[in-house]
Amino acid sequence: MSRRQLWTGIAALCVSLFIFVVPFVFILFMAVKDKRAASKLEFSWPTEWHLWANLIEVVEARNYMLLLAYFNSTVITVGAVSLIVIFSAMVGYILQRRHSRWNSLIWAGVMAGLMVPPAVVPTIWVLQNLGLFKTIHGMVLIQTAYGLSFAILLFRSFISTIPRDLDEAAIIDGAKPLQIFFRVILPLLKPATVTIIVVQSIAIFNDFTNPLYYLPGKENVTVQLTLFNFQSQFVSQLNLLFMNILLITIPPLIVYIFFNRQIVAGMTSGAVKG
């Protein structure tokens, strides 16, 4: 490393500490202050640390609403991600292995899913007619519908690296299509699967807009909505609002630490080929 690279690095580090770290330190400081200190909005070292007291108060607020929200968000995320992985792998598999005029129809659907903004009120109308409005399983299906396109793209390009000889060997051994897919193909898709699980989990866990529209009601609250609900309740208790932000920032942070590589792979897929 040259002298120049060292000093550029140090300069870049100082600037980015300011820009990218200060806001997170601000969240932490606000979250541990008491009510009065937090209301001053100062970026200052807390004189007293109320980490535990604030934590308990936020968790207990509104009859343990945050715990319920964590539960709901987890159910929605796990449910939707499971469906996305299995169903989109099946589509990607057919799309890559079989060629006919149906393919272009499927492609058109995938592209529409990536580009078209969902029509919200008509979606509510459909959900109501199906009895899925304001239900957790309805939300799971919505997140699945919106997440399929991206996953299909990723799976299709990954499946093209798996040789057809493997399918053919299984066919000769007398395997049925479902067996080939679940026993031979799906296990080989693990790198793409992990990437999709990580990227989609974060997206669904952080989603605010869709639960806001399709999942109203106190008992259906999700983590992002607690933040929004608490904003009016905690208007004089900013310390608790920021403790809430801190608590919902932790899961993505943990995921990022463990799955850094898969996130990078997923986010940049297609960037090189264009």
């Binding site: 100062e42 970026f43 903004p117 959900l127």
Partner: protein, 286 residues
């Protein structure tokens, strides 16, 4: 007898059913409902009235203009800053890996959390940003309280949160450029600046297309950051189409809200599709 394929089409079925019912059907239905006065149970056909209202009410027109401004400002800044950051973070500088992690982390954080945090940091008198500016002798503006500035302040926060993704895509794009181009141009006596304009920018083009496409679509559709920071205010000065759609929905004007959705879709199609095909065509020519 017809031989059955080992790749049966019913594999597509589960995904197709979910996607069609919850995405395609509402999208197509929105075309009809945007021509109606609608309360979810009864839809009364009123022709183009919703659209006429959209183009006549000044605050609705402003929402459309703001959407376009917001999308182009954020997309442009993410593209330029993303490329510069990616060049910096692939040049072998000190703490390069750590810096990449720092720049990317905001992408994964809750948008609402980021919005609430920056709303406090941008407080006109007590916020840390204006206090820091005051120390330097600068009188900080009312970032979110000044109607002519609010939309751009929100855009700035959106760039802060999203530039990491652009950087990451550019880093992958830069990695696919063969080092031979740089060596050859160095032997020919090119300066670093010339290398950037003549080698890096043209060869990283596929990444540029991806960054612009993703950030434009995202920018045109963005809702949470606006809603968390200004709720479209002060007045309607930072309203975008997505927040207008939500406000009309809350007010019970379902037909009008759906018309907003159709207009948003038209905007995405009119801006993104020609731009992408133009960028891809230029790529083929090169």
């Amino acid at each position: 007898m017809k031989r059955k394929s080992h790749y049966p089409y019913w594999f597509v079925f589960p995904a197709a059913v979910i996607f069609t019912t919850l995405f395609l059907v509402p999208s197509v239905a929105s075309l009809w409902f945007s021509f109606t006065r609608w309360d979810l149970f009864h839809a009364e056909y009123i022709g183009l009235e919703n659209f006429v209202q959209f183009f006549k009410e000044p605050f609705l027109v402003q929402g459309m203009v703001n959407t376009v401004i917001f999308a182009f400002v954020t997309s442009g800044m993410k593209t330029v800053l993303g490329l510069l950051l990616a060049v910096l973070l692939t040049s072998g500088i000190f703490a390069q890996g750590f810096l990449r992690i720092l720049v990317f982390f905001p992408v994964l954080v809750s948008t609402i959390g980021v919005g609430i945090t920056f709303t406090r940091l941008m407080h006109p008198t007590k916020g840390a940003i204006n206090i820091a500016l005051a120390h330097m002798g600068i009188d900080g503006p009312g970032w979110l309280t000044d109607p002519s500035l609010a939309l751009f302040s929100v855009a700035l926060v959106d760039v802060w949160k999203g530039v990491g993704l652009a950087t990451l895509i550019y880093i992958a794009g830069l990695a696919s450029i063969s080092p031979e181009y740089y060596e050859a141009s160095r032997i020919d006596g090119a300066t670093r600046l010339q290398q950037f304009w003549r080698v890096t920018v043209p060869l990283v083009r596929p990444a540029t297309v991806t960054v612009i496409t993703l950030s434009l679509i995202g920018g045109l559709r963005s809702f949470d950051i606006v809603w968390a920071m200004t709720k479209g205010g002060p007045g309607f000065s930072s309203d975008v189409l997505a927040s207008v759609i939500y406000k009309q929905y809350q007010a019970g004007f379902y037909g009008l809200s759906t018309a907003g959705n159709v207009i948003l879709f038209a905007l995405v199609a009119l801006i993104v599709i020609p731009l992408v095909s133009w960028m891809n065509r230029k790529e083929v020519e090169q």
